[in-house]
């Protein structure tokens, strides 16, 4: 039997996390045996299916194309996955809001206890996942016949987007369960890289004092091609939209460089960024817990330090 993973896409192209899920699925196949198949469920999703067929290591793409599969409604997608699961030992999705919404529903329909946020694959039935906001790692063994799991993208390298030549097979599209309707989205528009894919992130906290002051961070982000993130306090205060939130209940990120500005470093925030390669903290309180995880800490008033950072970066980048 084989491994099935859920492709995240916008019907035309793949979401970057999909390549990480594909490589996690390949890891599972390496220990469990079997092929790696991709499920593309959507509406007019031929473009996404073609892109999925090119992912290195994928041997077959299942394409379920139906109006009822638009908008990723769990009520319509989960029964399809549960039905297809009959032919697979493992079903894998990303720990994104899409994966977390759909996968547990499909698992319950298959009477299986899913494993969330998998960071390590040790055997066909043994996985490592974080608990308590990442303050502990649990090694768990599943006794379920079919294993359903969501994977933490930052823990896996991306598979190559090219090189594969999987066959594309149409599977019977799911009908509309009639339980839910997708009405629309208000997506944050930004020319910047996605938080979970960015090489550099600069995040602001309550210390920023207002949404307008985030312009200072945007300017630095422009120089570094960085994404802009935030603490929960900054989101709750309305400085920035909800999708900026990094942390236990927001996004988990692991960029090369994470710059925390006016963020105290609560455990819930650290849970989302402490696997970053290099962490910089700018905070006026030298006792702030963020300094305990920072490689480089600067005790300073951010309103002075951030504009200076912009100038110094200009100089440094010109010398290159």
């Amino acid at each position: 039997m084989s491994i099935l993973f859920l492709v995240e896409h916008d019907n035309e192209s793949l979401k970057s996390v999909t390549l990480r899920v594909a490589s996690a699925a390949a890891k599972v196949a390496a220990v469990a045996g079997g092929e790696v198949h991709a499920l593309v469920a959507g509406s007019n999703c031929a473009g996404a299916a073609a892109a999925a067929a090119k992912i290195a290591g994928v041997s077959k793409v299942l394409k379920a194309d139906a109006p009822a599969l638009a908008g990723n409604l769990a009520e319509n997608v989960a029964p399809l996955i549960a039905k297809l699961a009959a032919n697979y030992t493992h079903v894998v999705a990303a720990s994104t809001t899409v994966g977390k919404n759909i996968l547990p529903r499909a698992a319950a329909l298959s009477d299986s206890q899913p494993i969330s946020e998998v960071m390590g694959i040790e055997a066909a039935d043994i996985f490592v996942r974080p608990i308590y906001a990442g303050n502990a790692l649990a090694r768990v063994q599943s006794s379920d016949a079919k294993k359903f799991m969501t994977i933490r993208g930052t823990a896996f390298e991306a598979a190559a987007a090219d090189g594969g030549s999987a066959t594309i097979e149409d599977v019977a599209p799911a009908g509309d369960a009639g339980l839910s309707k997708y009405i629309g989205s208000e997506l944050t528009k930004s020319a910047r890289p996605e938080l979970t894919a960015a090489r550099v992130i600069i995040s602001g906290g309550r210390g920023m004092q207002s949404g307008d002051n985030f312009v200072m961070l945007e300017r630095v982000a422009d120089k570094l091609n960085a994404a802009v993130g935030a603490s929960r306090a900054a989101v709750d205060a309305g400085f920035v939209p909800n999708d900026y939130q990094v942390g236990q209940t927001g996004k988990v990120v692991a960029p090369e460089l994470y710059i925390a500005v006016g963020i105290s470093g609560a455990i819930q925030h650290l849970a989302g960024m402490k696997d970053s390669k290099v962490i910089v903290a700018i905070n006026k309180d030298e006792e702030a817990p963020i300094f305990q995880v920072a490689d480089y800490g600067l005790v300073a008033d951010l309103f002075k330090a951030v504009p200076e950072l912009e100038v110094e970066l200009d100089k440094a980048l010109q010398q290159k």
């Binding site: 319950a108 969330s116 768990v140 970066l313």
Partner: protein, 249 residues
């Protein structure tokens, strides 16, 4: 309509969990416990809907050991009408909890279940989705706004790219995200009143649910610690370090 809220007792969000030295789990002896923050938000939502007139009765359910009664009392003090305690000392995983809550939801004939999006101890984020599957109901996870519209709920969801709007048909399961509301503190008179509110006690056996865990924890360990960093004196020094030492810019 009748609403069921699921409330879990967890280590207080302000306490940093410590891994036990024998690797069997996390230290819970003499550690401050509290209602899972997302369950507070779920309870608050139910209370607001009752205050607004769309909900007639709020039943709070908690599955776990005897001490969970405290968590139920907190929910009752916030405004829930009665409690259901599914008592067991067994380890409960989300699939089992979903099965227990399903049987409570059916027994109580509720039209809406509100759960937290995630328990902050195991960080599973599964129970609501699984409960909806088992009941065959609609689901609206990570909700930041809920409006009743006849037989449907209009829900705003917090998703990775921003916000999403869906409509789900009742009966439904909704899971609460952080910005759905700000939970109230229970007032002293309400805490006193809560002591008199009824709590039913049930068991997994009585509900006919097999709660045997499907996941066995082999080992719990500390994540690798980060190496202690340094303090820099100036922005210029910071940029120099990032460029020449860390080589990330």
């Amino acid at each position: 309509m009748k609403v069921l809220v699921g409330v879990k007792r967890v280590i207080d969000a302000n306490v940093k969990a410590r891994v036990k030295s024998d690797g069997t789990g996390v230290e819970t002896a003499n550690v401050k416990m509290a209602m899972n923050p997302f369950c507070e938000i779920a309870t608050e939502q139910a209370v607001r809907m009752k205050e607004a007139g769309s909900v007639t009765e709020i039943i709070a359910a908690s599955c776990g050991p005897a001490a969970n009664v405290e968590t139920l009392r907190t929910a009752l003090a916030m405004g829930a009408d009665r409690g259901v305690h599914v008592q067991t000392d067994a380890e409960l995983q989300p699939l089992a909890i979903a099965k227990l809550l399903k049987s409570v939801a059916e027994k109580e004939q509720v039209q809406l279940v509100i759960l937290g999006k995630q328990a902050i101890d195991n960080d599973f984020n599964q129970t609501g989705q699984m409960l909806a599957a088992l009941l065959g109901w609609s689901q609206a996870t990570f909700a930041s706004a809920i409006e009743v519209a006849g037989e449907w709920l209009k829900v705003t969801r917090e998703v990775d790219g921003g916000l999403e709007h869906v409509e789900v048909k009742l009966p439904a399961v909704v899971t609460a995200d952080l910005r759905l509301n700000e939970p109230r503190y229970a007032s002293l008179p309400n805490i006193m009143k809560a002591k008199k509110k009824p709590i039913d006690t049930l068991t997994p056996d009585a509900l006919g649910v097999d709660v045997t865990p499907r996941l066995k924890t082999l080992k719990v360990s500390e994540p690798p610690a980060r190496k202690a960093g340094i303090k820099v004196e100036s922005v210029a020094q910071l940029v120099d370090k990032l460029k020449n030492e860390a080589q990330v810019i």
